[in-house]
Each structure stands twice: as structure tokens, then as C-alpha cells.
């Protein structure tokens, strides 16, 4: 079961800002994860401010089940996700990526994903709910 993880989870998980995101990062090698290059770049750009960008990149790719997808996402899908309620094309790029790679869940704390749009293609879950389902074997 493939999932996508938003950049906020990586930042929360490596800085300790959120306990559920910390757990999510701890169990990363147990999950099949695909993220678009944009998400990795967001985390990398911010972690570069404390000189930990390379360590971040190396760490996530230590998980054999983690992959960064570099291919461009079809423009048609970006428009679809704007129509579904995402406020910017940058958000829509993440939203459509999840459908495009066939992931079942997007894990995020971003309210624009959690509250302001919906799609039949996948579910958006906050980390606490994702972990609850993971631990209960409900995914």
C-alpha cells in the first residue's frame, strides 16, 4: 500500500515539533512511500538553514521503500485539483501527485488538504489517524 507524506510531516518529525510525525518518521522504513521532488525540495531548502539538508536526504533514502519521484506530473491533473478546491497550483501539484502515483493516503497536517478539498482518489489523513489505522492493521 503506497502512501505520500507531506513536507510538514518531515519537518515536524525531524525537529520533534509533533509527536505523531516523530513516530511516522521512526517507522518510515516500514512504509511504501512516494513523494514528489517538490516535497523533498521544501524540506531540504528549510533544513539547509541549519546545514542538515544532506543528512535529511541521505536519511530518507536509507529506507528502501521510500522513493522521490522526479518525473513531471501531467498538467491536466493539476487543473483537476484546482477545481477540487486546492487554493494554489503548488498545492494542486501535491494533490494530483498522490492520485497520479496511485497512493492510497496523503499524510498531512495542512488544513488545505484536510478540510478544504476532497477527492475519491485517495484519503488525506492527519498523522495521528494514519498511525491509529497502521497500528490496528486497518490500512
Amino acid at each position: 500500500m503506497l502512501i505520500c507524506i507531506d513536507s510538514n510531516q518531515f519537518i515536524f518529525g525531524v525537529t520533534g515539533a509533533d509527536a505523531d510525525a516523530v513516530t511516522l518518521m521512526d517507522i518510515l522504513p516500514k512504509l511504501d512511500v512516494a513523494v514528489p521532488r517538490l516535497v523533498v525540495n521544501e524540506a531540504v531548502r528549510n533544513l539547509a538553514k541549519v546545514g542538515m539538508d544532506k543528512q535529511f536526504f541521505a536519511t530518507i533514502h536509507r529506507s528502501e521503500r521510500f522513493r522521490t519521484v522526479y518525473e513531471p506530473i501531467p498538467a491536466k491533473l493539476v487543473e483537476k485539483y484546482i477545481d477540487l478546491g486546492l487554493p494554489t497550483k503548488a498545492d494542486a501539484l501535491i494533490g494530483d501527485f498522490v492520485e497520479w502515483v496511485g497512493a492510497k493516503y496523503l499524510v498531512s497536517d495542512n488544513r488545505h488538504f484536510l478540510q478544504e478539498f476532497s477527492t475519491d482518489a485517495y484519503e488525506v489523513l492527519p498523522p495521528a489517524e494514519f498511525l491509529r489505522r497502521f497500528e490496528a492493521g486497518e490500512l
Partner: protein
């Protein structure tokens, strides 16, 4: 998938223990039991390597001032808002021309 054959010598005690575990866990053969045990151990070794890297990452971030030094804000909402600004910047720099 290509396969290789290996010979594993174990003590009589360990052999008995393996056979007992194989029966209890209903493995069809000792070979299946050993194969899965090795796969599990390799997985564990890889997870440990990941955890070490993650620990190094977290420690490095804390030593360099953590979230404060990154200037992303203090609350989760502030941090998310900062990250969304980064997302927008990267989008404008690297992707906007593809999605006009």
C-alpha cells in the same frame, strides 16, 4: 529470481530449537523457516541503519538551534504557513512554466 545454495552448520541444540519453532509457527520446511529468519534479520539491520541516520539528523538539527534557527515559526500553524511559502517559491522557480 536466481538462487544460491548455502550450507549452514548449527549446534544440535540450536537445530532442535529451530525445528521446534518451525513446527510451532507452521512453516512448511526448515528451509522456509531459515530463509524468513534471515530476511527478517536483514530487514532489522537496515532499520537500525536508518534509525542511526535519523538520530544523527535530529541531533544535528537540535545542536544547530532547531526550529528557531530555521525561522519557520513557533506554532504548528506558523510552521505549516512557512512551509507553504517555501512550496510556492519553489513552484514559481521550477514548475510554474510547466503549468501555465
Amino acid at each position: 529470481m536466481s538462487t544460491k545454495q548455502i550450507l549452514v552448520k548449527v549446534s544440535g541444540e540450536l537445530y532442535d530449537e529451530m525445528m521446534r519453532a518451525k513446527r510451532e509457527l507452521s512453516f512448511p520446511s526448515l528451509t522456509d523457516f531459515v530463509r524468513e529468519a534471515i530476511e527478517d534479520k536483514l530487514k532489522e539491520i537496515k532499520h537500525q541503519a536508518y534509525r542511526r541516520e535519523l538520530q544523527k539528523l535530529r541531533q544535528g538539527i537540535q545542536e544547530r538551534g532547531g526550529l528557531k534557527a530555521m525561522g519557520l515559526g513557533e506554532t504548528k500553524e506558523e510552521i505549516i504557513a512557512s512551509l507553504r511559502r517555501t512550496r510556492q517559491q519553489i513552484f514559481e522557480e521550477e514548475y510554474a512554466h510547466l503549468y501555465r
